[in-house]
């Protein structure tokens, strides 16, 4: 399969196919970037490229009149997603360690539960939480989103981490102990460095899933106190009712997209391995 002796014609064909795929993947992204650079008056020009590129939309959401809508949402998204990721990865680490390392009867139950939680329709969780959160005062607060985010971040963390942990040669820990290391030293010096890349990858995937959430964000928040960016975007309205918020939405969309795309591109190999191993091998 890896014989790379293609004829010139085949090479050209592959380049064409390759370019088509790249275009398919990039056109919608390029379009939203283009929109974000258009002047208000050019928004209905219907041209793909901005005729007269400007940064006014970015100024509008970062320091202008829309900044008091966008900036708190950005802060909420970063804070809530980071905390939800941290809690999920720590809890998943214990669980994955147990699954990979120890033999205990509940193993299958935990993995099956994680799977069941992963396929759970989010909206079925939202309905009762909406009412309960209102009663106990968690509605429109950070914990009010962090807790339900566990249903998104925890299952995938357990699956990807246990896939990673299974590949760790645990005998090395014993070997180190035989050589005179205490069990804590052996764990810290041998296992932690081996596990770190997997933990890191899992954290990125979990963060990315929390960052992507929309259903919880739109249902369990009502003000800038906790509303994350995706929900804020959906509720963006123009500065006046006659102004289309298209440009501002596009600029905000580009800003929330850049960090995730950069992360994914830098760590693409690891993320692909984490996602596929987690899903196929567990």
């Amino acid at each position: 399969m890896d014989s790379q002796n293609y004829s010139t014609r085949e090479k050209v064909l592959w380049w064409v196919v390759g370019l088509l795929i790249v275009a398919y993947a990039l056109v919608p992204v390029a379009w939203i970037v283009s929109l974000s650079l258009k002047r208000g008056a050019d928004l209905s020009s219907q041209t793909f490229l901005p005729p007269d590129p400007t940064t006014e939309n970015y100024e509008l959401i970062l320091s202008g009149s829309a900044s008091d809508l966008f900036l708190p949402a950005l802060r909420n998204s970063i804070g809530i997603s980071l905390i939800a990721t941290l809690i999920a990865v720590v809890l998943a680490m214990f669980a994955a360690y147990a699954i990979a390392r120890l033999d205990f009867p509940g193993k299958k139950v935990i993995l099956t539960t994680a799977l069941a939680v992963a396929i759970f329709p989010v909206i079925s969780i939202v309905t009762p939480l909406f009412n309960v959160w209102r009663t106990i005062g968690l509605y429109d607060t950070w914990p009010g989103l962090i807790i339900p985010y566990m249903s998104l971040t925890l299952p995938i963390s357990i699956w990807t981490l246990s896939a990673f942990f299974r590949e760790i040669p645990w005998e090395m820990e014993q070997a180190a102990q035989v050589d005179g290391a205490t069990s804590w030293q052996a764990f810290r010096k041998v296992i932690v460095p081996l596990a770190a890349p997997g933990v890191f990858t899992t954290a990125i995937i979990a963060f990315f899933i929390a960052w992507n959430d929309f259903v919880y964000g739109i249902s369990l928040t009502s003000t800038e106190a906790s509303r994350p960016v995706p929900a804020a975007l959906a509720l963006f309205t123009g500065a006046s009712q006659f102004e289309e918020p298209t440009g501002a939405i596009s600029a905000a969309a580009v800003i929330v997209t850049i960090p995730v795309v950069v992360l994914v591109l830098i760590f693409q190999r690891r993320i692909v391995a984490g996602l596929t191993n987690g899903a196929v091998k567990g």
Partner: protein
């Protein structure tokens, strides 16, 4: 013991809400009028299941799920084959490009597609000579754009799973079939696909259940107008917009049961043993 906390948290954030929803679904309960909350048994379910709105949403959800998952499976398979076979020089570029839609958050992707087809600002109409077409005004076009954005966004996921499945097909089997004179199609159907059944099934199951919960794109593009309301959107509208806790809860429970039925159906019909798919006994 180590796995305990994770297990408890998972149960707390899912089992508890669904039990609460089941309980709430037995009451006529409107948040704006809490005084008149009263027990009505299964009446909410009867109301929903005799309402054409529910069945319409059900049909739309099934349509979106079936079409997107089938298209994604074919497209994802093709992309995986290309990534596997392409010139070594362009392979990393393809992998990177394909990951981009996956990295875009759903809401942003929904906006990109919505603005592209928008009647005043979109580039699609002038590019394809369709001036004046309002894509979001009627059901067939609106649901098509929703499905396109969903396919664009999630094909990478299916493609990556299939790629990792392809990598697990033993090379010597391929070679043996080649020597025996099997054509490309024969090798595909007789050797490659049977050997990666587990990967395909996992991809299918996950995507089906995921597509069945479709919400973000619908919310952004049509808000359920033009007959595009899906089950998730219906549940949202009942509870969050109309504050009908009782009806909304019944909606949620029905949606939950549908998802469970799909999952069980998959496991029964295709005999997917997930623990086996993960290489365990």
């Amino acid at each position: 013991m180590l796995a305990g906390p994770a297990f408890v948290v998972m149960l707390a954030v899912t089992a508890y809400p669904i039990l609460q929803a089941t309980y709430d679904s037995l009451f006529a309960y409107r948040l704006t009028d809490p005084e008149s909350r009263r027990f009505v048994g299964l009446n909410n379910y009867a109301v929903i299941l005799t309402d054409p709105v529910w069945w319409n949403a059900f049909g739309v959800t099934v349509l979106i799920t079936v079409v997107t998952v089938l298209v994604e499976l074919v497209l994802g398979f093709a992309l995986a084959l290309v990534m596997m076979k392409a010139l070594r020089t362009i392979r990393p570029v393809l992998r990177t490009a394909i990951l981009i839609p996956y990295a875009i958050i759903t809401v942003v992707s929904a906006f990109a597609w919505f603005f592209a087809f928008d009647i005043t600002s979109g580039f699609v109409n002038p590019t394809f000579g369709l001036e004046g077409t309002d894509w979001f005004a009627s059901f067939p076009t609106a649901v098509s754009v929703i499905m396109m954005s969903e396919i664009w966004k999630t094909t990478p996921f299916i493609s990556l799973l299939i790629l990792s499945g392809l990598a697990q097909v033993p090379e010597d089997l391929q070679e043996a079939a080649k020597v025996d004179g099997a054509t490309w199609w024969q090798r595909m159907w007789k050797v490659t696909i049977p050997n990666m059944k587990a990967a395909i099934m996992v991809a299918l199951l996950f995507r089906t259940l995921d597509a069945f919960r479709i919400f973000d794109n619908v919310f952004i593009m049509t808000g359920g107008a033009a007959g595009t309301e899906t089950l998730s959107f219906g549940a949202y509208r009942q509870t969050i917009s109309r504050l009908e806790i009782g009806l909304g809860s019944a909606y949620s429970v029905l949606l939950f049961l549908s998802v469970v039925a799909i999952a069980l159906g998959f496991i029964k019909i295709f005999k997917v043993d997930l623990s086996q798919a993960r290489g365990e006994k």
